[in-house]
Symmetry: C2
Subunit: 260 residues, 2 copies
């Protein structure tokens, strides 16, 4: 099950020394790491998903914990996901994407495009945090079942107010750039991220999304076009794409979804 991860590594060790990207993230969920995985997959850039490798090959969660506990490489990230490039540790999804974007053709080269791509990605970050908090409104240290009553309250406001607010904002941003892509005319990591947000929301809140998507046709078309890209389609059909689950950011709890 982990064999493909090695296959995707460069065989030539000189290439490996130059370009080896190590992604560190929880091995059993899509979570925030998925935005980085999608960027690597679309760009066709080899990466090692370290915590998904078996421990005997230097993987597993302990490999991640070890780095987070060490001071050897300087500034340590607050939390996963983080990227290791040589001796550089780089934390925060949006920061990782703004680092990878210009290096692998996932954002135009000019400064304004980069700043605006990152700006949109930071709104994705905020949105994802709010999506997460629908099922964890009190504490990340408590089980969902222990904050279910509060989750129902928070989720009811989320599907009524925040979900349409964010999606209509992204629809508008897309239209402001012509309606096909968020930044420039080629695909960027922002397009990939909005695909992930849309499919995650459909999993978590199918009823609410059926309603809200009616007002965001460009976003729906964008997500379809991302899913149809050859490398993304291959990735989604592979074992590398983890399934959605109720251990993840996007969780399907019917009691949190909109009433029809």
């Amino acid at each position: 099950v982990f064999f493909f991860l090695f296959l995707s590594m460069p065989r030539d060790s000189s290439v490996s020394m130059k370009t080896c990207y190590e992604l560190y993230y929880w091995p059993s969920i899509q979570g925030r790491g998925e935005f980085v995985r999608l960027a690597f997959e679309e760009a066709g850039v080899p990466y090692v998903d370290v915590a998904r490798l078996p421990a005997k090959r230097g993987g597993g969660v302990p490999a991640m914990t070890k780095l987070l506990e060490s001071d050897a490489l300087g500034l340590v990230p607050f939390a996963p996901p983080f990227l290791k490039v040589g001796s550089l540790l780089l934390g925060h999804t949006a920061n990782i994407l703004q680092y990878l974007g210009p290096r692998h053709g996932l954002v135009p080269d000019d400064e304004v495009s980069r700043l605006h791509a990152h700006q949109l990605q930071l709104s994705v970050t905020d949105f994802v945090a709010e999506i997460h908090d629908t099922h964890h409104p009190i504490s990340v240290g408590l089980y969902y079942e222990d904050q279910k009553r509060e989750a129902k309250k928070r989720a009811s406001y989320f599907v009524k107010e925040r979900l349409p607010l964010f999606l209509n904002y992204f629809e508008r941003a897309l239209v402001q750039n012509g309606g096909e892509r968020f930044i420039g005319s080629a695909i960027s990591y922002v397009d990939l991220s909005l695909f992930q947000v849309l499919v995650g929301l459909r999993y978590a809140f199918p009823k609410a999304m059926a309603r809200v998507e009616k007002s965001t046709p460009k976003l729906v078309a964008l997500a379809d076009s991302v899913a149809a890209r050859p490398r993304i389609a291959a990735y989604l059909a592979s074992n590398r794409r983890l399934p959605f689950s109720e251990e993840d950011v996007f969780r399907h709890y019917p009691e949190l979804d909109a009433k029809p």
Copy 2:
């Protein structure tokens, strides 16, 4: 009361054309805009705090709303604060700071320093969102009084778990860089931001902070050193520094603070 804002603008119109920064943020609170204000103040860079100007001089909240509703300048920010530089609109506090930092000596020039400064600032962003949600765990659209019971629950976990987790992380990051400054050897926007977080938390959670600060001596010394910098001290003593209040991100509700 708004006169000083004009005084701080460049008089030479050619300079003004080149360097005029317009900050757009809610005029009556520190909020997320304060991190940007502190950067401008420390750098001695003139800026216009647009929404704090009277309407007859082109200010007020309507000036901000007008920009957010217009499509004329391209990509619109999701929410304040945002910066206007010529025809560029730039949203998200951390993104604004990473734009201003290298231009005004508030971050070292090399890429790793910039990436790590931004990484730390994104952890500040997350922390500030969690601080906000202690008094708004259910919805930003409800009054505190209408989510007080849930706020008490969320805040109790916050002061017990999240507050020490974040502050101890920042203490460790500071120590990893020698203990005086977060990035490099000179002051950066990250140092200014952590000062703001610390004084805000002392206002909001004085009991909890009295306890947690014992384990973060370097952070305390950093905040003291920022407050003593001539430009910051002058700013804090001026009318430009708005007072803390219960309309802001950092709110003092004794019932949310730690039990002694």
